[in-house]
Structure formats: C-alpha cells, structure tokens
C-alpha cells in the first residue's frame, strides 16, 4: 500500500497502532482530521487462526509465542529454544524467553552490560528486565490480561503524600481531570464490571461514589462472574490484615465481554495472555479498525520509524524504513509529514526513536531530550508469585486467567516505608508459577520432583510437600493412579501474583547499543535495570509474609519455591534473583513497561508536560505507559487509554 497524501497533507502522523495510537487515530479521524499511522509490524491477520496455530504448536507458551516474528525455532546446544538472532530480524522485540538468555546478544534483543554487583544482596545488582511487548498492528494489547482498574488519587501524589518517587503533574488534581477520560476509556475497551463493588473498594481509599468514573456512571457490561477459585478467598481472607488494612476480595473490572455484543461473549478459554481465540477480550485492533473506517486514517504497515526530523524546534517529518519480509532487506522508505506528530510505540521503542534522532542542530542528545530524561526511569510492576494447594478442589484452569483480586492494600500509611501492591488471584493453577501442567505431569510419569509434589521437599513452614504420603518419593505412576493423582493436584492449584509498585530511578534506563543492530541497521536497546530501593524490596518481604498468612487462612499448603542463590557472572548469570534481609527473591515482569518519557511540571526533569506534549517541540506528543511518572498500583492499560483520549482532545484543540 502506498501513501496517498490527502489534499492539504496529513494533520497528524502517529508512530504505532497499539491501543494509544489507535485511540488517537480514531478520535481524530472521527473529527475529520487526516491521519497517517506508521506501524513497524505486519497488518492484523485476516483471521486470528494463524496466530492460534502458532501458539498451539509453540513449545514454550509465552506471552509473545503466537505473534511474529517467531520466537522459537530449531534448537541447538547453546540455544535450547532456538531463539532467533535479533540481528537477522527487521522488528525484533524483547520476549520473556530472552530473560534467561540476557547475557547473549545473539539471542536477546536487549543488550545488557556486565553485572556490576559483587553480591546478590548488593543494591547495585543489575537484572534482566522482566516484561515484553509486541511490534504488530494492535500492539501489546494482543497479549494483555484485560484488567481495567483506575489508579488512585494518592498514586498521583506519591512524593507529597509519602515522600517517595515523584508526583504526577498537578498531583491529586490529575485524578479529577482524568475522570471523564477514565469513563470514556471503559467505553472504548468495553469493560465488564459491577459498579457497587468498585464503589465499595474506592471508598476505602477515600474516593466517594461520584469519584468512581463520575456521577451516575455504570460500566458498559455487568461484571464477569467470579471463579470457584475466587470463592475460596472470598470466604477466608476477611479475618486478615496487611499493615493494619483489612483484606477483602474484589471482582476485577475486565476488558472482556460478559455479554455478546460487538465482540463475542467470553467463553473462558483461560488464555487471555497470550491470545484470546475469539476476541472476547478487547485489543487495539478493535479501535484500529474503527479508525480506518472513518475514511480519514491511513496506515502504512511494515514501516519502521527510524529518525525524527526537526526544523528549528518543530518536528518536520518522521523517516521510516520499509521491508517486505521479516528477515529480508529494507525495500525502501520515506518521510512522513504532518502538522502534528504522536509517538505511540510503547516505552522501549519510543525512547529508542527519540535517541536515534540525534542529527538535528541544537539537539545532539536526541529529539525531546533537552532534560536528558529520555529513556530514563524505566519501571515495571515487579511481581512476587506465590503458589499453593488447596485442601478441597477449587477447579483451577477454568475461566479468564484472573477474575478477582485483593485490592485493599493498594494504598495506606505503610506507603512511606514500602511499595504498595495489588494481589491478583490467578485462575490458571501453577501454569505461570511452575510451568504446569507439564511439570507435575513429568514428575509423576518419570519420577522427578520439579513440582515439589513427588519427592522429599519441605516448605518454609516445615510442611512436607509430597502430595501423597502413602507413595514413595519419586514415584513413577501410570494408568488410573496417574489420572487420579494428577486430577487431585491440578484441581487444587492456587496462585497469587503481587504487582509491586516500582519507583522511578533515573539510572534505570534505555540507551542505544553502540555495537548491536537489528536487520534494518538500527541500534538495539541497551538496558540497565536495578531494584535498588528498600522501599521496593520491603514489599517483597511483605508479599511473602502476606502469602503465607493467606494460604494458612485458606487451609492451603504453600508450595512457593525460594530461588537458589543468585549466580553473578557467566552465561548462566541469574536474571531476576536477588537477596534481601537474608532471603532470596525472584521477580517476574507484569508486562507493564512504564516510564522512559515521563510527564512532569518542569522541563528540567521531564520529557512531556501534563498535556503529553514535548517541552522541547510543541507539535510532538507522546502517549502510552511511557508517560507515567510513577507506576501507581493499577494495571496500566485503562489509564493508558484514558490518557490517549485526553491527548486526542489536546491535539484537536491545537489543530482547531
């Protein structure tokens, strides 16, 4: 498809067609503005069945496994999963399989420096980043969970209220200004949630009913029904407190259909990540299609933005490189020109593009980077996972991946001492925590003990973990005994995930590799990532203690495995393990890539103003979770969507 420039030219050029880019394109297109989207990845497939087949046949079913470019190929001795060399790909991206290959740039797209720390308890220890993203039309919402919570007023004033991190520009007022956009974002995504439990929840954070999305508001669809797994928690956690805060279970607002509508009704495929096979869950392709249907939006696929041109302090064009096949040569390129520009390429590729654009007079450190903040303050919700076995069946592996959470401790006075977290109640057994069902299966078929169910393992509370004490250790089962044993285990599996707030650290950053490039010759991201603050590490200690209390209250046996001591050097160097207060912890990524081009109230310490507009170039906007000054405590997508709607209004205002 070639770009046909409309009479008068494009009003806006957008880089990226994920949820943010698509929302802005749709809002502008509806208003009659002419929009061009540059998308680095391939188009939305005619049918998602191709992606499904790729997923079904993938040996490692990671969040990225259904999507191009392929994550796994023929294996070799040093590359057991056959991960492709990022230098051979036109749109490589970071995948969770690469975490354990983080020291090998032939397998890992991100380039990391050598380990700086001399011990695993040294706060200077560097890690692999835990979360990944997609470079396809529709973006990373292809593999999001659907959780659609709002941030809290105190999330926007962390510095003022608790002396931690920074405030968002405007502090608590940011919440009030965002409310109408939050409301609109639930309509865009199609959120299923009942109003009453959300009002009850937010009241505990001093948000009055009218402050929950605004007066007289209700969600587009009724809440998704909770799982039988959720019911066990509902019945048992209310006697517990974390840091003095009583616990209760809240059904999670979710971007998936509880009723048939424009998309299909959720059929509980238990596969929201990596892919919903029936598109009951919202993804960015929904809004992208709406944008294209306005007739005012064009999209140029397989076109990777490579440079931003400036004329004076205004953006004057975005150069791009095109390709036909993922491993083939560049087949051309050009410069996209509009009146305004929006970068919506997520929190790694957006700063990379800004930093690559360093040929403009007066901006030797890259576009929009007079503050030297571009690429800095990379964050995630760092996750602590805990898992156990219930006494009675809870019927895991059924329903959406999560239908409820324990949200009560997302804010409180404790936040001056340790990071807040929300607790997600997983419905998918030990799938994430222990690579089940395969690990437990292999243990009972081959007499191994990676699940801790079939050997002499003991947990931290001193409880023997062998599932059937009448069987010898390392049993090798078959026939009906195998079937009933596996059944007994799988249907009792529990998993909790703590999404721990991380605070901005300017040294956690994305820069450009001087040595490694992709197939198009563009430099790859060099990433430095640490969790230095006791504030964040204290939350791991808290999460561990909370899990033990929760599982005890449930009458469940905890199987959470404390990781081995971290290995600090060599190709097998530990990627996400650290030691704190005498205990080893491993963190997981929440898939929430946050920061790297933050908003702020001063051009000296932020990239964007509160309008998500570059301080340096007022015809340049940036959107997505990269604009967040702090991680806050909710999964970010609803806020990403609300902010994109707000940015679209700002653009329309500018365009007149």
């Amino acid at each position: 498809m070639s770009i046909v420039t409309p009479p008068g030219g494009f009003d806006v050029v957008i880089v990226g067609s994920g949820i943010s880019g698509s929302i802005i394109a749709y809002q502008l297109g509806k208003a009659g503005k002419k929009v061009l989207i540059l998308e680095g990845g391939p188009p939305v497939p005619k049918s998602r069945e191709d992606y499904m087949q790729t997923f079904f046949t993938a040996d490692a079913k990671t969040p990225e496994s259904p999507y191009p470019p392929t994550t796994q190929g023929a294996s070799g001795t040093d590359n057991p999963l056959g991960q492709p060399d990022p230098a051979t790909l036109n749109t490589p991206r970071y995948t969770v399989l690469q975490i354990n290959a983080w020291q090998d740039p032939k397998q890992c797209y991100f380039v990391y420096g050598p380990q700086a720390a001399t011990s695993a308890s040294d706060p200077q220890m560097t890690f692999a980043f835990g979360s990944s993203y997609e470079r396809v039309a529709g973006g990373t919402t292809w593999h999001w969970l659907g959780t659609s919570l709002m941030h809290l007023p105190n999330d926007f004033q962390l510095k003022t209220k608790y002396g931690q991190g920074v405030d968002w520009p405007g502090g608590a007022n940011f919440y009030t200004q965002l409310l109408p956009y939050y409301r609109a974002a639930t309509e865009v995504i199609g959120v299923s949630s009942d109003r009453d439990p959300m009002v009850d929840l937010y009241k505990t954070f001093n948000v009055q009913p009218n402050g929950v999305y605004g007066p007289d508001y209700d969600f587009p669809m009724p809440g998704i029904v909770p799982s039988t797994n959720d019911a066990l928690y509902q019945q048992n956690v209310t006697a517990l407190k974390i840091d003095g805060i009583p616990l209760f279970v809240t059904p999670t607002p979710q971007g998936r259909n509880s009723r048939p509508g424009k998309r299909r009704q959720c059929a509980g495929n238990t596969n929201c990540i990596p892919i919903c096979p029936i598109q009951a869950k919202y993804d960015g392709t929904v809004t992208l299609a709406q944008a294209l249907q306005t007739g005012n939006v064009q999209i140029q696929y397989q076109s990777v933005a490579s440079n931003i041109r400036l004329k004076g302090n205004q953006v004057s064009g975005i150069d791009y490189l095109s390709y036909d096949t993922q491993t083939g040569p560049s087949t051309g390129g050009g410069t996209a020109v509009g009146k305004r520009y929006v970068l919506a390429a997520h929190a790694i590729e957006t700063p990379k593009l800004l930093l690559m654009s360093k040929g403009n007079p007066g901006y030797p450190n890259g576009v929009a980077n007079s503050s030297d903040q571009v690429g800095r303050n990379l964050m995630d919700h760092v996750m602590y996972l805990a898992w156990g076995l219930a006494k009675k069946p809870v019927y895991a592996y059924r329903g959406p991946l999560a239908t409820s959470g324990i949200e009560a401790a997302r804010d409180g006075a404790f936040r001056s001492q340790r990071a807040a977290y929300r607790i997600e109640i997983g419905n998918e057994g030990w799938n994430w925590a222990a690579n089940d069902p395969n690990t437990t299966l292999a243990d009972f078929v081959f007499g191994q003990n990676n699940s801790q169910l079939n050997g002499d393992s003991v947990n931290a509370q001193g409880t023997a973990l062998r599932f059937d004490p009448t069987l010898p250790a390392y049993s090798q089962l078959f026939g009906s005994k195998l079937a009933t044993t596996l059944n007994d285990v799988y249907i009792r599996q529990l998993r909790l995930g703590y999404l721990i707030e991380q605070v901005p650290d300017p040294d956690n950053r994305v820069t450009l590799s001087s040595q490694y490039k992709d197939r198009l010759g563009l430099p790859r991201p060099q990433v430095t990532y640490r969790i230095r603050e006791d504030y964040v590490r204290n939350a791991f200690v808290s999460a561990k203690q909370a899990s033990t209390q929760i599982f005890k209250a449930l009458g469940a046996t905890e199987y959470t495995r404390e990781p081995q001591n971290a290995q600090l050097s060599g190709p097998k160097a530990s990627a996400t393990t650290f030691r704190y207060q005498g205990q080893n912890f491993i963190f997981y990524g929440a898939g929430h890539i946050i920061g790297t081009y933050r908003m702020g109230s001063s051009p000296s310490d932020s990239v964007l103003n509160a309008r998500q507009q570059s301080w340096d170039h007022d015809n340049l906007y940036m959107v997505g979770s990269g604009v967040f000054p702090t991680t806050a405590t909710a999964n970010p997508t609803l806020t990403i969507a609300a902010l994109a709607l707000q940015a679209a209004d700002n653009l329309l205002h500018d365009l007149g």
């Binding site: 509980g268 019927y395 059924r398 329903g399 191994q448």
Partner: protein
C-alpha cells in the same frame, strides 16, 4: 508395520493413561489423534522399538484371554520389567507423556533433589488440544474452550465423565 498394531496400541494406551478406550480412541473419531501418536511413538524411538513393545503387549494381552479389562495389569507387568528393557520402559513412559501433553518428552536425569528435568516438543496443534492433561483437570485446553460464558462459576462434571467419554 507398526500400524498393524493399532488395536494393541490403543489397548496398551488405555492401560498406560487410565482413560477408557472410548475416551482416547472413540469409534467416531474425527481427529484421529491415535494415528498421530502411534506414528510419533514409532519415529521418535530407535528403529523397531515401538513394534517390539507392541508385540510384547500383544503377547501378554492374547495370553490373558484377548479381552479388554486388564490393560493396566498388563502394562504394569511390562513397566516392572517383564519382557521389557529399561529403554523400552522409558519409551512406554514417554508414550504416557505424549498422550497427556501432546508433546514428545526428552528426559534428563541427575542426582539433584528434583532428579533432573524434562523438556518436550509439541507434535502438532491438534496434539496440544487433545492432551489428556486438560481432561484430568476437568477443564479444556488453554486457548480452546468448549464451554460457555460463566462455566467457571460452577463445579465441573465428575472426573469419571472425562475419563470415560470423549469430551
């Protein structure tokens, strides 16, 4: 030819998996996963081993009267070493894994507390969705639900329904 032993392959698989013949190889079988698995069983093992295992099972089955009902007892004898080598016993266990996971396993043993690790390679999209693990968890393959909205709020049918019938 190994495919001449299909009936014995199914019968032996009943003993190995704990699932009824009608559940793993129904009379009306639009998927026909048994043929995929028998082929994989043959191809993944050293030449002739699959056929030797099936011949041994056939001999035991026929000697026991040639009627269904004692499949588990027969495979139990074989797994205990009756007329089978350690390599053949491992192969039979790999077949169990294949039926359950739809993937062919590579088993590495060592002296660690976990006694090593098992890696596996998915045979096909259908073998993944046909895996018996999903049935023993009284559920469905992740990514391929046969149920309707809200099923997760209620208890599933009993395990026997999944062991005895195609789901």
């Amino acid at each position: 030819m190994v495919f001449d032993y299909m009936d014995y392959f199914v019968s032996m698989s009943v003993g190995l998996t704990g699932f009824a013949s009608e559940a793993i190889a129904p009379e009306i079988d639009p998927v026909g996963i048994k043929a995929v698995y028998l082929q994989a069983f043959d191809e993944k093992l050293p030449d002739g081993m699959a056929e030797q295992i099936l011949q041994r099972y056939k001999a035991l089955f026929d000697a026991a009267g040639g009627k269904p009902g004692n499949e588990e007892q027969l495979v139990g004898q074989m797994l205990a070493g009756s007329g089978t080598s350690p390599a053949q016993i491992l192969a039979m266990r790999q077949l169990i894994f294949l039926w359950y996971a739809g993937a062919w396993p590579t088993v590495q043993y060592d002296n660690s507390p976990s006694r090593g690790q098992t890696f596996s390679s998915v045979i096909s999209a259908e073998s993944y969705t046909q895996g018996l693990v999903w049935r023993v968890m009284q559920s469905h393959p992740m990514g391929s639900s046969t149920y309707n909205y809200g099923y997760w709020a209620a208890d599933p049918p009993p395990l026997s329904a999944y062991l005895e019938n195609p789901v």
